[in-house]
């Protein structure tokens, strides 16, 4: 059964990092990292957090090999009226409209001093334009 050390090694290799690079970025010794990866040493929560941050990995995954995900996959798809209008004007396919909706939904939280504002037809068109400019 894979251990925390095994998972650190697995992700480090996927990130194409050497032990030297990871140890340096996480501010710990290469020898200690090697011991952790070879299951010869236990790692404290603070050091594990530092390694997780450098690897961009979930702490839960490193500890347990699984993550707790909040998923909205089972939610019914509701196309907002403004998006529907924007899609019609831009002649977008259903798939393209869904892609736009998915991108927009990836904004989970935003701290701002602006007043509440719902996404307008123009906002959807602007978002489409910005994505198209980068991704074609």
């Amino acid at each position: 059964m894979p251990t925390t050390g095994d998972r650190i090694r697995e992700i480090r290799e996927k990130r194409k990092m050497t032990q030297d690079q990871l140890a340096q970025a996480a501010d710990l010794s290469k020898g200690f990292l090697s011991d952790v990866e070879n299951n010869k040493a236990n790692i404290s929560s603070q050091l594990l957090l530092r390694i997780a941050n450098v690897l961009g990995a979930s702490v839960d995954y490193l500890l347990q090999g699984k993550t707790k995900e909040t998923s909205s996959l089972k939610d019914p798809v509701i196309i907002p009226q403004e998006l529907s209008l924007a899609a019609e004007q831009l002649k977008l396919s259903y798939g393209e409209a869904l892609e736009l909706l998915e991108a927009h939904k990836s904004v989970v939280a935003r701290r701002s001093n602006k007043d509440l504002k719902s996404f307008s037809v123009e906002d959807w068109k602007e978002l489409h334009k910005a994505i198209k400019k980068v991704f074609g």
């Binding site: 404290s44 929560s45 957090l49 909040t70 990836s106 904004v107 989970v108 939280a109 701290r111 701002s112």
Partner: protein, 174 residues
């Protein structure tokens, strides 16, 4: 505590969505819910002592990482990093972080199972830097109370206006 926040149907819906049974005070119940979650995180990963360490721990347990932009150049690098991973919403990052937007949390759509689920971009350019610490906690507060993606996704926030959204006002509670 303003009575209207306590009486907001949106706040009561959040209470229900969080699975809180019955309570006469929804604000206190939600804050208690958040405290309990943080206590559990501390039990899972003991040893965090400073506020900064606690912030990192809670962020990690909630599945987010802070990407801090102190200059236009750093913001450009963050944008490029996530665009290269196919995260389309980053196409508008510069526009989204307009004058009065301090931070945005994104759910990553193209990620490995072991990667963090979210990224919180904290704008620390110019005068916004002074608010960075509280901006991070604001983003954390959203993730602590997240129950449904749709409810969170179609709004902007306003922490200082009287016309603020009830949930946004709640995020500023201490």
């Amino acid at each position: 505590m303003p009575q209207r926040l306590k009486d907001s149907p949106q706040i009561w819906k959040l209470v229900r969505d969080l699975g809180i049974k019955t309570t006469p005070d929804p604000i206190a119940a939600i804050l208690h819910h958040c405290e309990q979650r943080i206590k559990k995180f501390l039990a899972d990963l003991p040893g965090s002592q400073t506020p900064s360490q606690l912030l990192d721990l809670v962020a990690a347990k909630l599945g987010t990482v802070f990407e801090v932009a102190r200059s236009d150049s750093e913001l450009h690098d963050i944008r490029q990093k996530y665009l290269s991973r196919g995260e389309k919403i980053f196409s508008r990052l510069n526009e989204d972080l307009a004058d009065e937007v301090y931070g945005i949390t994104f759910k990553l759509l193209n990620r490995e199972p072991w990667e963090l689920e979210y990224v919180s971009v904290i704008d620390c350019r110019g005068s916004k830097a002074a608010r960075a610490y509280y901006t991070k906690w604001h983003e954390i507060a959203h993730l602590l109370t997240q129950t449904d993606q749709m409810r969170l996704s179609f709004r902007r926030t306003h922490c200082e206006s009287d016309k603020r959204d009830p949930e946004e006002a709640l995020m500023c509670k201490r």
